[in-house]
């Protein structure tokens, strides 16, 4: 290991990592200790185990830094294959814990290979994209990249662990950064929005909404054929309307439950219609401006889009009602505010929100959380650890954790951008994507903004495999970054 690369380690990242891990451990202690006597030798205590996992992960960090940076690039393919094999091996040798066959058990030590498969996939993707032969703009190469990403996810889903599989959506980050067309993002987001709103409002309103939207899209197109000078007026009007749209959606999101009953139903429906049309006009204007240079979309394109949307809405409805199991439906219904059963399926989310909500500005104090002490939030030291933060450290503590994560991610973008080596950059964006999706889904779930998807909060949640996985993931990138001084 070259001396210069030790000096080049990004200590800001290391500091953020240590802060998160340290604060996380404090919260795991609070959420799990059973008696007042503090002991670091009582291995039945969760916090003791986590302390050793943390110590060992520091050893891991040192080892990772000691390994030659080129090693990761060179052996990415092999590592990827091993990880797929280890995932497949679960179907034969796996140990089933709370319904999911996701672990290998070696005596008292259990290892969850899916936590490591992310790293391997990130390395493999980085290797593939950084290959001189690869051009992400080619559909053929896009498919190969998707295959690399989808393979582990497909193997993980039937364990069953759909939450961990969902994490593979994280690889959108590097793909997009490396030049994947934005249309994939637009389609993905539109599909998600349509999915949620179809469940909320039923397919017909959404189809009518889509129709209005497309009509809105066409208005500037049609009118530009006649009088092109009026675009400025259109722009100013549509800016005003877009403000309204934003206000409307802010209101919708902040109240979460969308109350549509009685007179409100019709009023909201009309407003909804107007807004969707307006939104369409704005989008239409933007498209119109851009497509001056490129070829113009044909009317048939609009009609096909509408048909696709109609098909999508009905299939969402069908899949939700006929393919999903009740527990999946329940999870969505809770988040959509349609059915709240605080004692049954909604218990976790409800108790977690109570824990966070009762924290107030500064929280109840470390080890003073009544929700935490009473064990009201199941899985609190693992997936729901953030509810302990919220309860005992309040808005300040919870806000600080969020800020730390955002800072870490921004720092990592900064690091990724300064890589001269494409392998390092792709890997860096994979790390960002994985950490981000964990952060977003986990805190979204714990605060009741997203359906219950059981994935851990990086560096915070209890669990050896998880902590090691994230540590290795992050510190390989730190090593790659530190090694950039040797690149040229």
């Amino acid at each position: 290991m070259a001396k210069s690369s030790v000096a080049a380690i990004d200590w800001i990242t290391v500091l953020l990592f240590l802060l998160l891990v340290g604060f996380g451990w404090g919260n795991i202690y609070s959420a799990s200790y059973e008696n007042e006597a503090f002991s670091l030798t009582d291995f039945s205590q969760v916090y003791v185990k986590q302390a050793y996992w943390i110590l060992l992960s520091i050893v891991l960090i040192v080892i990772i830094q000691a390994i030659e940076a080129k090693f990761y690039e060179r052996f990415a393919g092999l590592i990827y294959v091993i990880s797929i094999v280890s995932l497949l091996g679960l179907f034969v040798f796996g140990k089933t814990i709370s319904g999911a066959t996701s672990w290998y058990a070696f005596g008292p030590v259990r290892i969850q290979p899916s936590e490591f498969a992310k790293i391997c996939t990130a390395l493999a993707l980085a290797k593939f994209l950084s290959d001189m032969q690869t051009n992400i703009k080619l559909v053929n190469h896009q498919l190969r990249a998707f295959l690399i990403i989808a393979l582990p996810a497909i193997v993980i889903v039937p364990q069953p662990d759909p939450g961990s599989a969902l994490v593979y959506a994280a690889f959108f980050f590097p793909l997009y950064r490396e030049g994947l067309a934005a249309i994939y993002l637009i389609i993905g987001v539109s599909a998600a929005v349509l999915f949620v709103y179809t469940l909320l409002l039923g397919p017909f309103i959404i189809i009518i909404g889509s129709l209005l939207f497309i009509i809105g899209l066409l208005i500037p197109k049609v009118s530009s054929l006649h009088k092109e000078r009026k675009t400025k007026i259109y722009l100013s009007i549509s800016l005003l309307i877009s403000l309204l749209v934003i206000c409307y959606f802010v209101i919708q999101i902040s109240s979460i439950k969308i109350a549509l009953d009685g007179l409100h139903y019709y009023i909201e429906l009309i407003i909804f219609g107007f807004l969707v049309t307006a939104f369409g006009i704005i989008t239409g204007l933007l498209v119109e401006k851009k497509s001056f240079e490129r070829q113009k979309l044909k009317y048939s394109g609009y009609i096909i889009t509408l048909l696709v949307i109609i098909g999508f809405c009905f299939s969402v409805n069908y899949i939700f009602n006929n393919v999903f199991e009740q527990r999946h439906r329940d999870r969505f219904n809770i988040v959509l505010g349609k059915e709240v059963d605080a004692k049954g399926i909604g218990y976790n989310t409800n108790q977690s929100q109570i824990a966070i909500g009762s924290g107030g500005w500064i929280g109840k104090g470390w080890k003073e959380g009544t929700q935490t002490k009473g064990g009201f939030v199941p899985e609190q030291h693992t997936d729901y650890i953030f509810s302990t933060v919220g309860e005992e450290w309040g808005f300040l503590g919870g806000g600080m954790v969020i800020v730390l994560f955002v800072l870490l991610l921004i720092r990592l973008i900064h690091l990724a951008e300064r890589q001269k080596n494409q392998f390092s950059r792709v890997y860096g964006y994979s790390v960002i994507g994985i950490l981000f999706i964990h952060f977003a889904i986990n805190i979204g779930m714990v605060t009741g903004l997203m359906p219950t998807i059981g994935i851990p909060l990086p560096f915070f949640s209890y669990g050896g495999s998880g902590l090691w996985g994230f540590t290795i993931l992050l510190f390989i990138f730190v090593k790659l970054d530190a090694n950039r001084v040797n690149e040229w």
Binding site: Y176, T370, G374
Partner: protein
């Protein structure tokens, strides 16, 4: 460009999360209560309510254990209602009703289902309790009365009602509170402060230790014992004498204002309002609207004071200098006034009389003359009435006494304004003679027995009184509230009292109560016979006169001052005078020499008299 979108996604997510945290933790405040509901069980530790002793240290009220069946509605599991009801001897409907009420009050706070089990019921139910999840038995203490007298003074305790809970957050549903008498007035002293224990629960509702290590827990503070000024022996004797009669006796110690006896008749036994039979008994007492046993006549009944009021007019006459002790006034079976020769009648006695025999013989003409001179001393009758009223009110009449009893009435002393209004001044004029019944304590003047007793104490003290009070000591330490230890002066100079007291003495030696003399005790008194009216079927009908008597003894250094009021007792000395004499002898000597009077009182009943207006038949009065 592409980098920017990724930045934006990350920062937006962070902002949305912080906004969500703000909504959950700061904006929406309901979660704090929800988490307390979840995780904290509050247990109250009820302190012992203080005991009540009488002035001689006799224990009157203490506590006995009682057992309430409590329910926490949200912890209820289906149970065998039939068995539950049969153990407790209640109907299924009643159980359903009280469970519903408990649920409406709060599904998580314990409510009482069946209050105050007997020991036997408790023992039996205790064994079966495990079958009835959500129910538990709470031990509490009930009042245990060591006396059967003085219920009106002691008062009673009962469950707090919603409005009391609303007023004072200390109280929770099912808590006991003093509702009447000393129990009400000294509620805070007697009740103590309940202790609070907060217990941290886990999600299975198991206790997992004290909340915050008991930092917010408090220990119960036991209630303080109080000693009241009542002399139980005198109270008991008074209540015995008042059997079969209606009215009140108030006996004070003039030198302190302490209430020695406060008798109202009819009354009830205090133990009737304890335990499960309380509500049945209470209903019975409340619905007796004819005898109204819950109405403390000693404190609340406003009667015309009658002739005892003449003593006040005599004192005011002397103070205002409109008469002296020498001047005699003639009486021809009454006092004649006005152009049309109206008459204020009087009974037969020798004439003319000066002040002392005037009091002793209760001559109406004498006091009419004195009263008229008082009013007419001033330029207008309005000024006269106001001057007179100020003197009268200085004896504690016409307004609340400011005592520590749970009930009271102000009585009434008419003002000039009052007469202006009823005589429609200035359209019509009115003169002293229009208010002449004030001279003999009839007409517009009203007073309660305790006011009359206090007035007597002021005379006995020769010009001052101490506000009557019932509290003597708290936790054995004498109470020294300034309101009770500072004498209140009347507007009459001290020297004017002697002739009036001499007159009151002669009431016993030569006058209207001479047959009530007690050998060796110098009693001063004044009889009174108060006319009164009621409405029967909307017709104003006169009923048999009230028998009124005020007295104090001994004449020098008086030890007791009292007022006795017997409804429809016909004339002053007949009932009230007899009772007053017996009470005085009982208090001063602890034995009765005039057993003839005692026998007469104990054997005479006024129930027949009281039944007259309700008989529906024509009846004669004053027989």
């Amino acid at each position: 460009m592409r980098k920017l979108l990724l930045y934006l996604i990350i920062v937006t997510t962070g902002v949305v999360f912080i906004a969500r945290l703000f909504y959950l933790q700061i904006y929406n405040t309901s979660f704090i209560a929800l988490s307390e509901d979840n995780a904290i069980k509050v247990i109250y530790d009820y302190p012992q309510r203080g005991a009540i002793y009488d002035r001689n240290g006799k224990l009157l009220v203490t506590n006995q254990p009682s057992y309430d069946v409590m329910v926490i509605p949200r912890e209820l599991k289906p149970f065998d209602t039939l068995e539950f009801c049969s153990i407790l001897n209640i109907t299924k409907e009643k159980l359903k009703k009280s469970l519903k009420k408990a649920r409406v009050y709060s599904p998580r706070v314990p409510s009482i289902v069946i209050p105050q089990l007997t020991k036997d019921e408790y023992a039996y139910l205790q064994e079966k309790m495990r079958k009835f999840e959500g129910f538990y038995i709470q031990k509490r203490s009930l009042r245990d009365y060591q006396t059967t007298y003085g219920a009106n003074v002691l008062g009673y305790i009962g469950e707090v009602n919603e409005s009391q809970i609303g007023k004072d957050p200390y109280y929770l549903s099912g808590d006991l509170i003093g509702i009447d008498g000393v129990e009400k007035k000294y509620e805070k002293t007697l009740r103590g402060i309940k202790g609070v224990k907060r217990i941290q629960k886990d999600r299975f509702n198991r206790d997992i230790g004290a909340y915050k290590n008991g930092r917010f827990d408090t220990l119960p503070v036991n209630g303080k014992d109080i000693t009241i000024t009542l002399d139980t022996k005198l109270q008991e004797y008074g209540q015995k004498l008042m059997e079969n009669k209606r009215g009140g006796i108030v006996a004070l110690e003039p030198s302190t204002g302490e209430i020695l006896a406060l008798v109202t008749a009819p009354s009830y036994k205090p133990e009737l309002l304890v335990g499960r039979k309380r509500s049945a008994n209470f209903t019975k007492l409340v619905y007796d609207t004819i005898a109204i046993p819950l109405f403390d006549r000693g404190l609340k009944a406003e009667y015309p004071p009658g002739s005892p009021f003449k003593t006040i007019n005599a004192l005011i006459g002397l103070q205002e200098g409109v008469i002296d002790t020498e001047e005699s006034v003639s009486c021809r079976m009454g006092y004649y006034y006005g152009r049309r020769g109206q008459k204020l009648g009087c009974h037969s006695h020798r004439s003319p009389l000066s002040m002392i025999p005037g009091i002793a013989n209760s001559c109406n003409a004498y006091f009419a003359t004195v009263y008229r001179r008082i009013i007419e001393k001033y330029d207008t009758p309005q000024e006269g009435i106001e001057a007179w009223r100020k003197h009268v009110e200085s004896f504690g009449l016409g307004h609340y006494l400011g005592n520590d009893l749970s009930a009271g009435r102000p009585g009434k002393v008419p003002t000039a304004k009052y007469y202006d209004k009823i005589y429609q001044y200035p359209k019509y004029k009115w003169y002293a003679t229009a208010t002449l019944s004030n001279a003999i304590g009839q007409g517009e003047v009203l007073s309660t027995p305790i006011q009359l007793a206090n007035m007597t104490a002021a005379i006995a003290n020769r010009g001052h009184y101490y506000t009557p009070h019932i509290i003597k000591a708290i936790d054995g330490k004498p109470v020294e509230f300034e309101n009770y230890t500072k004498p209140k002066s009347t507007t009459i100079n001290k020297e004017h009292f002697e002739p009036v007291i001499e007159g009151m003495h002669e009431v016993y030696t030569k006058g209207t109560a001479s047959f009530l003399q007690v050998e060796g005790i110098d009693i001063c008194g004044k009889t009174g016979t108060a006319e009164n009216f009621t409405k029967i079927d909307g017709v104003k009908t006169q009923l048999t006169d009230h028998s009124v008597f005020i007295a104090f003894a001994p004449k020098e250094n008086p030890k007791i001052a009292l007022a006795v009021f017997i409804e429809h007792g016909y004339w002053g000395a007949r009932y009230a005078g007899r009772i007053a004499s017996l009470m005085i002898e009982k208090h001063l000597r602890d034995s009765i020499s005039r057993t003839d009077i005692e026998d007469w009182i104990l054997t005479h009943s006024l129930e027949e008299e009281y039944a007259k207006p309700y008989s529906g038949e024509p009846f004669k009065i004053n027989q």
